[in-house]
């Protein structure tokens, strides 16, 4: 069994029939990086949020299971679920500018989970935080620990959030478009940093992105989502050699090539859209929630 297994997960807005996620299944093993791609609004973030127990209040689980390290999260009482997630998983958020508390110093924002949830002694947690800040190549970590977020650049803050995510040695990291909000110049560094950290710490990484170009460099496996329906689940090499699903093929054709960024792009053809929509409708027809 993989470290993370999502089985037939369906989500919907409370009180509504249409689903945001349509019986989605995916798994990520320790050491594996899974790319989760799809257009904006496809439900990529919702999968990550469901796994981390931070679904919006308006959204409810309409079916399925989420297994983390052999425990079905959805069967646990809320408080216990949060503790399990806090100890075993972590989030690298999308926007480093809003993901740090503006009125708290950096240090405690990294060490709080270690001290409060895992019960570490404070100085051990602080030593660990310093070590991690060095690992993410932050100069003068001791000073940074005492700083407030507004004193630091966006790139610095994302490094801090990455360090913080790895602090408790979680075996699963969810990274939700971790470079989208950053300057193009720092995007590549941050990407390389996350990949390096993942390899050194041997975690499972669920990497949410809408950029297929990034997936080819970082991920071993790839899941493609359309309107909450999983249309493809392949090894990355196989995917780039020839995607199984017509929609994936069209998506790949619509992505700029790394080797030829200015080459002509084909938008997803309408026939393909119509076909995948029919699939979505068929999935809804056979579903009783």
């Amino acid at each position: 069994m993989s470290f993370l297994e999502v089985r037939d997960l369906s989500l919907r807005i409370k009180g509504e029939q249409t689903r945001l996620l349509r019986s989605v299944s995916l798994s990520v093993s320790v050491g594996e990086v899974r790319g989760l791609v799809g257009e904006s609004g496809a439900g990529k973030s919702m999968i990550g949020k469901a796994v981390l127990g931070i679904l919006p209040r308006a959204v409810e689980v309409a079916g399925g299971e989420i297994w983390l390290d052999g425990q079905n999260l959805l069967a646990l009482p809320v408080a216990q679920r949060r503790r399990v997630i806090g100890a075993k998983a972590a989030l690298i958020p999308q926007d480093p500018l809003t993901a740090l508390n503006p009125s708290r110093r950096i240090g405690p924002q990294i060490t709080d989970r270690l001290v409060d949830i895992l019960g570490w002694a404070r100085n051990r947690a602080e030593a660990r935080a310093l070590e991690l800040l060095e690992e993410v190549q932050i100069a003068d970590p001791a000073r940074v620990m005492r700083s407030y977020p507004h004193e630091l650049s966006g790139g610095m803050r994302q490094r801090i959030l990455i360090a913080s995510a790895f602090a408790a040695e979680p075996k699963l990291i969810v990274a939700d478009e971790p470079t989208t909000a950053l300057d193009v110049t720092v995007q590549k560094q941050i990407l390389r940093l996350i990949k390096g950290m993942q390899e050194r710490h041997g975690t499972a990484l669920l990497f949410v992105t809408h950029d297929l170009g990034v997936v080819s460099k970082v991920c071993q496996t790839i899941s493609v989502l359309y309107a909450g329906l999983m249309v493809e689940d392949s090894a990355t090499a196989a995917f780039y050699a020839g995607p199984r699903h017509a929609y994936s093929r069209a998506l790949l054709a619509a992505t700029p090539k790394y080797t030829d960024p200015l080459g002509s792009l084909t938008p997803v053809p309408e026939a393909v859209i119509a076909a995948v929509r029919a699939e979505v409708a068929a999935a809804d027809g056979g579903w009783h929630g």
């Binding site: 931070i54 949060r82 806090g86 993901a99 740090l100 508390n101 409060d116 949830i117 507004h150 959030l161």
Partner: protein
């Protein structure tokens, strides 16, 4: 700079009060003399208190005295105004601070509970409670409390500051504070028993304001990214609210509490009267009834000093709580 504007504010207040209370009808001298007093008696006393001079001249004399720490002599009590006023100040300060603390605790709890149970029946009940608390002014709450917890179900005192027959070891007029410091819990219970209803009457409307505003800002803060991130760390919702959301949501409430606290202090005038509580406000009403001009001036100036002091305190706290302001 701050000092200068404060000084100008206080001066302005002094000028306005000084002239207004001399323009309204009513003669303090006539009031203090027995019915059979002669014209000569009136003239003699009027001259004694300097009331025969022109109003600007009276003002200059008064201001000269104030700058040397002499606020004149009360016409009715025939004692220095400063001593009278400072003697009563502790009672009003203790009442106001107690009311403020009660408002913060009650309002804060309502806001936290409402945020924790947002969107549900509990929040709706809190909203209704806040609305009711706000639609009734403090002195009516005073009446309600007197009738409810003083008369119908007499658990608290409804008159005075302390039971008069008690032996008081106090050297200051800060009864509550001194009884705490001296560990005289017997006296403390009696004092709190006297204070609780007037303080509650003053606190209820402010508690509702704090509850509503703080809940609103907390709810807005609750879906910010750093709050969500804290949830993924394994914290309970209460912890998330208290540690992540509250410090950032509290600033607008704090500013408002500063303004509202000055209103609350203003409210002590009527509440103290209602509960026969021997504070500044009660003294102010007596002073107005008796046209005790020097005493009125002294009380008003003191209130003005308190108000500006409160505002200064709020600004300082605000800066201390907000790291972005603190670092310029």
């Amino acid at each position: 700079m701050r000092l200068l504007t404060t000084a100008i504010t206080l001066f302005g207040v002094a000028v306005i009060v000084f002239f207004v209370i001399r323009v309204v009808p009513g003669n303090p001298i006539a009031m203090m003399l027995p019915p059979g007093a002669t014209e000569a008696d009136v003239a003699r006393l009027t001259a004694l208190y300097g009331l025969d001079k022109s109003i600007p001249a009276q003002f200059l004399i008064w201001l000269g005295g104030v700058l040397q720490g002499d606020f004149g002599t009360s016409i009715t009590a025939r004692q220095p105004v400063l001593a009278l006023v400072l003697g009563r100040l502790p009672a009003t300060l203790e009442l106001s601070v107690m009311a403020l603390l009660m408002a913060i605790v009650l309002g804060g709890m309502a806001a936290l509970l409402g945020t924790l149970r947002r969107g549900g029946r509990t929040e709706a009940a809190i909203d209704i409670g806040n609305g009711m608390a706000l639609s009734v002014p403090d002195f009516l709450w005073g009446l309600v409390l007197i009738l409810g917890l003083g008369v119908f179900w007499p658990v608290f005192h409804i008159s005075g500051r302390i039971t008069p027959s008690l032996d008081l070891p106090f050297v200051t007029n800060f009864y509550l504070f001194e009884s705490l410091v001296r560990l005289r819990f017997d006296l403390l219970v009696d004092i709190v028993g006297h204070m609780i209803l007037p303080a509650l009457a003053l606190a209820i409307p402010l508690a509702a304001i704090i509850g509503q505003l703080l809940k609103q800002s907390l709810k807005e803060t609750m879906h910010l990214d750093y709050v969500t991130l804290s949830r993924t760390k394994g914290y309970s919702e209460t912890h998330v609210i208290l540690r992540e959301a509250l410090p950032n949501a509290i600033l607008p409430t704090l500013t408002l509490v500063g303004v509202q606290f000055t209103f609350l202090i203003g409210g002590t005038v009527i509440i103290e009267r209602l509960f026969s509580y021997e504070g500044l406000g009660n003294m102010a009403i007596d002073a107005v009834i008796n046209r005790d001009l020097p005493l009125i001036q002294g009380i008003v100036i003191l209130f003005a000093v308190i108000f500006t002091g409160v505002n200064l305190l709020v600004d300082l706290t605000y800066a201390a709580l907000n790291p972005r302001l603190r670092h310029g």
